[in-house]
């Protein structure tokens, strides 16, 4: 029978919530406490776990829609013979005063459902791994003590999908990736014809961009540097046997170079407050925003206190933030407080761009694609790998001389990245 899961009041006195993302679809098999949906209330964004194990029969609302507390969120066939469950005793906070059904159909105690019999044996970390890898533990044979499923069993398991029957649904795994080098999803540029309200991440991006475009007078300075040493440096560093080495990318190298230049020129790390401008604010810390394209849009996670990070730590931090961004696991704190942004637009092949400075910042560094291009060396034209770089600056704060000097400082370190190891 269908278990009706109604939108609960998960805060204190909430009226409604927005459906941000469904993690399951009709026909999916879910286990108890598996994340079903992410909802956004005026207090927080929360994942709601399934109250029962079963098959998803219907979803109460589409992504982007709002549901009121008490409306049907999802219906799940839990295989029970008796009709529903959905209205057990009302939760105290939901206050279903006057509901004739509530409180009258408590589930009898002593039912067979228990954690030990319903679930295969595995440690919580193994369960998490299985969930992230899309592996149904019921399909895995445990090789541990007493048939317990180990992490290796999960890793060795084939991706599930039984020959027939519904496909188990799980959240997407997070994959470590180079920022931007991941192919974008096939939904890029796709939207049905019609009028679509601007909300969610798209709405946030729209408001920020309008503010940035209308309030900040931009100037851009561009350069293209010989990246021969940079390419070589990266190859040699990545072969080093130490944590973070494998995560070193041109982006991470540029981030360290930018942090070094920001220490030398704190004004570039600052911004103008107010419109058209009341004060210049110079932050104590250097927090680098790293623009990352995700399936859901552009997000800019922040490497906090980046001023003195060594290359390897910087590389690790960027890799984990970008992976979290792609998996949709960033926290609000991960996205807050950037003082300077780096955008690796070249990961998609571009050479030059004019990136827009996020509100609350004074400058942005853009990296183009490294490619072999003609370079003049001592009177001869040679084919060399080159890296185009762009600095966008708020002209209220930064004049051409500072913009050029700052860009030059970054470029010098990228031409000879050994500087970054000698003096972080």
């Amino acid at each position: 029978m269908a278990h009706v899961f109604r939108l609960p009041d998960i805060g204190e006195g909430l009226d409604e919530a927005e459906i941000v993302e469904w993690f399951v679809a009709i026909g999916d098999v879910v286990v108890r406490d598996q994340a079903l949906v992410e909802v956004l209330t005026d207090k927080a964004s929360s994942e709601l776990p399934s109250p029962v194990a079963g098959t998803v029969l219907s979803l109460g609302a589409a992504e982007g829609a709002h549901l009121r507390v008490g409306e049907v969120l999802i219906e799940i066939d839990d295989g029970s013979e008796t009709a529903n469950a959905g209205v057990r005793r009302p939760p105290p906070a939901a206050g279903s005063v006057g509901d004739p059904v509530s409180g009258s159909t408590p589930r009898p105690s002593g039912t067979q459902r228990s954690a030990t019999t319903a679930r295969p044996k595995a440690a919580p970390a193994t369960r998490r791994l299985a969930l992230q890898s899309g592996i149904d533990l019921n399909t895995v044979t445990g090789t541990g003590p007493a048939g317990r499923i180990t992490a290796d069993d999960v890793r060795n398991a084939e991706t599930p999908v039984p020959a027939s029957g519904p496909k188990p649904s799980t959240r997407l795994a997070s994959r470590p990736v180079d920022a931007g080098s991941q192919p974008l999803s096939s939904t890029l540029g796709q939207m049905p014809s019609g009028r679509h309200p601007l909300r969610g991440l798209r709405g946030v991006v729209a408001r920020n961009m309008v503010q940035a475009w209308t309030e900040i007078p931009h100037i851009h300075t561009m350069d293209e540097l010989d990246a021969s040493l940079l390419v070589d440096f990266r190859i040699r560093v990545r072969s080093m046997d130490r944590p973070g080495a494998a995560q070193v990318t041109p982006l991470a190298i540029a981030a360290v170079a930018a942090a070094r230049a920001l220490r030398r020129f704190p004004v570039v790390n600052g911004h103008v407050e107010g419109h058209p401008g009341d004060a210049i604010v110079i932050p104590e810390e250097i927090n680098l925003g790293i623009a990352a394209a995700t399936g859901r849009g552009l997000v800019v996670p922040v490497v906090h206190n980046a001023g003195t990070l060594d290359l390897f730590t910087m590389a690790e931090r960027i890799a984990s933030l970008v992976a979290a961004a792609r998996a949709g696991d960033l926290t609000t704190a991960d996205l807050a407080g950037a003082t300077f942004t780096i955008t690796n637009y070249g990961s998609l092949g571009g050479r030059f761009a004019t990136p827009i400075i996020p509100p609350g910042q004074g400058a942005i560094l853009g990296l183009g694609a490294i490619a072999e291009r003609p370079v003049a060396v001592e009177g001869e034209v040679l084919a060399r790998p080159t890296l185009p770089v762009v600095l966008g600056a708020d002209h209220r704060l930064i004049d051409g001389d500072l913009a050029e000097t700052f860009r030059r400082a970054v470029v010098d370190d990228l031409i000879e990245p050994l500087h970054l190891l000698i003096e972080a």
């Binding site: 998960i10 927080a44 109250p51 057990r88 105690s109």
Partner: protein, 315 residues
């Protein structure tokens, strides 16, 4: 400790499923609460919890979990512990349990009862008037009470440095004429020793002790809170490396007393127990108007009208 955290995770899910009300997860406080309970004598000593502790108080009786479940589904009986269980009901109003604890301890000395009371509160509560008045009285009366402040660095979203200008919370003991002890609350053995010593002193007529157990809140303040808005990610990450459960587990693994299999078994058992407790709680009859039952012996006229309106289904 593992049992408490496992059950807290399940309760969090139950709350997100709309099956229990707002609650405060124990994550990060397990060593403070469990080790304190183990240093006390459940047949003579009293515990007055705040609201984060019940899942780690099972040494004081399996009834604690049952009561906590009833409480969480909004059943008034959840605040009525059987007389054999020396645990007071949860206290949501900040710090009001501290004067209760001092009064209870004083009463025990007046009645020549051997035993101490231990009261849990947090860094936020230590700024409340009730704390200062109760601590002062406890010092004057030499009441056998242990004031156990779990300093988890956050009073909801207020960080400790905005809570107090004092270097430590334990320093406050000086002003009330009692010993103040500051311990690593992630170290179960340190908690046990500090509580054991304070208890002996109280039983020997030495009066109260203020213990500041320094921990870090590893989860949300409550289910209605979003800590990612204010807890710095790097601070939380650092605190996780000091997780009280992992520290004790490492120690016990070294002694050959703990392994993954034992842990899995404890977790499975804990999950079964919390599920069963929930099933029993929701099977308890609950009258629609039970909310009025424990306010006055006889309803006031206004409450009587409200009770009648509720039973009529009127808004």
């Amino acid at each position: 400790m593992v049992e408490a955290r496992t059950q807290a995770a399940r309760l969090w899910n139950l709350q997100r499923q709309g099956q229990v009300g707002t609650l405060a997860p124990i994550d990060g406080h397990e060593a403070v609460v469990a080790a304190t309970a183990h240093a006390l004598d459940p047949t003579h000593d009293w515990i007055l919890p705040q609201y984060r502790e019940p899942l780690a108080l099972q040494r004081f009786g399996p009834e604690v979990l049952e009561q906590y479940m009833l409480y969480n589904i909004g059943h008034p009986d959840g605040s009525r512990f059987p007389p054999s269980v020396r645990v007071a009901p949860l206290q949501i109003s900040l710090a009001t349990q501290i004067p209760h604890a001092v009064g209870l301890a004083w009463g025990m000395t007046l009645q020549d009862e051997p035993g101490v009371t231990t009261v849990f509160f947090g860094d936020g509560s230590s700024s409340e008037g009730d704390f200062h008045e109760a601590a002062n009285l406890a010092g004057v009366l030499k009441a056998p009470v242990i004031l156990l402040c779990a300093n988890n660095q956050w009073a909801i979203s207020t960080p400790l440095h905005q809570q107090t200008a004092a270097e430590t919370l334990a320093d406050r003991a000086v002003g009330y004429g009692m010993p103040g002890v500051r311990i690593d609350g992630n170290d179960a053995a340190a908690v046990f020793d500090a509580v054991d010593e304070a208890r002996q002193r109280a039983l020997d007529g030495g009066g109260p002790t203020l213990i500041e157990a320094v921990v870090y809140r590893l989860g949300a303040h409550t289910t209605a809170d979003d800590p990612t808005r204010y807890v710095p990610a790097e601070d939380l990450e650092a605190a996780r490396r000091d997780d009280p459960i992992e520290r004790l587990a490492d120690h016990l693994v070294g002694l050959g007393l703990w392994d993954d299999e034992t842990r899995s078994a404890v977790e499975a058992e804990a999950m079964t127990r919390v599920d069963e407790a929930f099933e029993r709680a929701i099977a308890q009859p609950l009258a629609t108007d039970a909310i009025f039952d424990h306010c006055f012996a006889t309803d006031t006229p206004r409450m009587a009208r409200q009770r009648a309106a509720l039973l009529d289904g009127a808004p």
